[in-house]
Amino acid sequence: MKEIMARLKKDKVGIVGVIGVGLVLLLGLFGPWLSPHDSTEMYKEHMLEGPSATYWFGTDEFGRDIFSRVVEGARVSLYVGLISVGIGASLGFVFGLIAGFFQNWVDNLIMRIMDILFAFPDILLALTIVAVLGPNLENTMIAIGIVFTPVFTRTVRAAVIAVKEMEFIISAKAIGVKTHKVIFRHVSPNVLAPFIVQSTLALSGAILTEAALSFLGLGIQPPNPSWGAMLNESRQYMEIAPWIAIFPALFIIVTIFCFNLLGDSLRDLLDPKLK
């Protein structure tokens, strides 16, 4: 871990990613204290006003403060991102561990189900699941979690297969350590590196998918702010009030960019092949 931190310090691009992700996390955590207005409060006399001292990013067509909505949107994005990656990663971790360790009919069954899920374009799968469950916050997270399960399962399974032929695992089995103990005590810590990289990359994917679903009106429902939904609503008014499109778009792009920078650097750092 120390070695990783030392190498991360040398990687300038990685540092930009860390700082960017850190800022977005702070924005999400302390958002309510930072934003000057309530994100759903409508100031009817101040509709579609440009950026000013009172309304830093201007106001939207209902007179709501865009800065406060963007900040609240960061909260929503991160929340959805973390929970849905949590769902996908835990399911994928368990399935991948089981499939990789046993490599029998259970493996076959799990992997064929994952193949089926993989046969759908991400957005389409998420869209279909949300359409069935009904569009709201919880179902958006469930849908994105399911979409990300196969990639975690594959990553963990591949890592487990690589680890399990190593001598220390064979020795552990030889001295009679119980199967579940071998799996959880000895195999799983060794698949953490690819798992962490995958999680960081999946976070940006999950945030992007949430924004896309909300953009299509099938994610977070109004009046709750979501960057994707804000961007969609802005399209009607953006020619007379460009700021209502620019700020949410900018935040989506910068956030995903920083998560990708971080994920990329982590991959280079943790991939033993690139040492």
């Binding site: 089926i116 759908f120 374009p121 991400d122 389409l124 359409a131 069935v132 499109a245 792009i253 920078l261």
Partner: protein, 314 residues
């Protein structure tokens, strides 16, 4: 080769079967039934029963599946709840547009990504390489709908340009069709370019490190011959794989892009059907898109083993 393709095609059957079962079951999980959607809540029992019988909803679930699948296999995807028109005809007429958009986007992404990726690999660890890395990460990070919105905003404010309204097919008026398609294809293409750029760079680097390249250089071949005749040819295989995977992202991306640019393609069809709760249409269109995706992946796989003689068709 032929036996290999045949074997791969046979292996598709269980996957496609799984996909169809998955779509069928997930559609059955929808709360509330189709009958109430059509008739409203105040329908008589008699009317409900009649409609249930018409849709086969009174049968056990596996029979409902068999009925649907039997139809699909004989080219009958059922009819739309809204328009009463056969679903397959609609799918096919819209598929042309989505396919055109996907192909055009893929093409745009290649002409951006492959040259930039090569340049980055050749000038490794210089500012050019760094610049390409940033561009490719931006390409991956900017969501297509954000790029589309910002692009439309800039074009309208700065150049007073609006994309032409009213869709015209490629066969009616190729020039006007291209005018309509170029913006959406550009948006989708740049999103895909990032990943292709990165893959091109790393696989060229990988190939340049190999012995045969050193031999060719030692024989006095010019750098141009080394790159274009030898390195690029060998680097194409991983690039092709990523392109195959990206086609899926493109097909998914068309859902959003078609909506933004009001293009009547398959993606827009799915979205409209979801909003109108026209579930047989959703079911049919999603099955169709997933099948196309699986077939494209198969095609890439076959091409892959065709290009790389080291891969045996066993």
């Amino acid at each position: 080769m032929f036996a290999y393709i045949l074997r791969r095609l046979l292996m598709l059957i269980p996957v496609l079967f799984g996909i169809s079962v998955f779509i069928f079951l997930i559609m059955k999980m929808i709360p509330g039934d189709v009958v109430s959607t059509i008739l409203g809540t105040e329908a008589t029992d008699e009317a409900r029963r009649q409609l249930e019988k018409q849709f086969g909803l009174n049968l056990p679930i596996y029979q409902q599946y068999l009925q649907w699948m039997g139809g699909v296999l004989t080219g009958d995807f059922g009819v739309s709840l809204r328009t009463g028109k056969p679903i397959l005809g609609d799918i096919i007429s819209r598929f042309g547009l989505t396919l055109e958009l996907t192909m055009l986007s893929a093409f745009i992404s290649w002409i951006i990504a492959i040259p930039l990726g090569i340049v980055a690999a050749l000038k490794r660890n210089t500012s050019t390489d760094f610049g390409v890395r940033i561009i490719s990460l931006l390409g991956v990070s900017v969501p297509n709908f954000a790029l589309a919105t910002l692009l439309l905003l800039v074009l309208s404010l700065a150049f007073s340009y609006y994309p032409p309204a009213g869709y015209v097919s490629l066969f009616e008026d190729p020039m006007k069709n291209l005018q309509m398609m170029i913006l959406p294809a550009f948006v989708l293409g740049t999103a895909m370019a990032g990943a292709v750029m990165r893959m091109t760079r790393s696989s060229i680097l990988e190939v340049l490190r190999q012995d045969f390249i050193r031999t060719i250089r030692a024989k006095g071949a010019s750098e141009r011959i080394v790159i274009f005749n030898h390195a690029l040819k060998n680097a194409m295989i991983p690039i092709l794989t990523i392109i195959g995977m990206q086609i899926g992202t493109l097909l998914g991306g068309t859902v959003i892009i078609e909506q933004i640019f009001s293009l009547p393609g398959l993606g827009q069809m799915v979205l409209t059907a979801i909003n109108q709760r026209d579930y047989p249409v959703v079911q049919g269109a999603v099955l169709f898109i997933a099948t196309v995706f699986v077939l494209i992946n198969l095609l890439v796989d076959i091409l892959y083993s065709y290009l790389d003689p080291r891969i045996t068709y066993k």
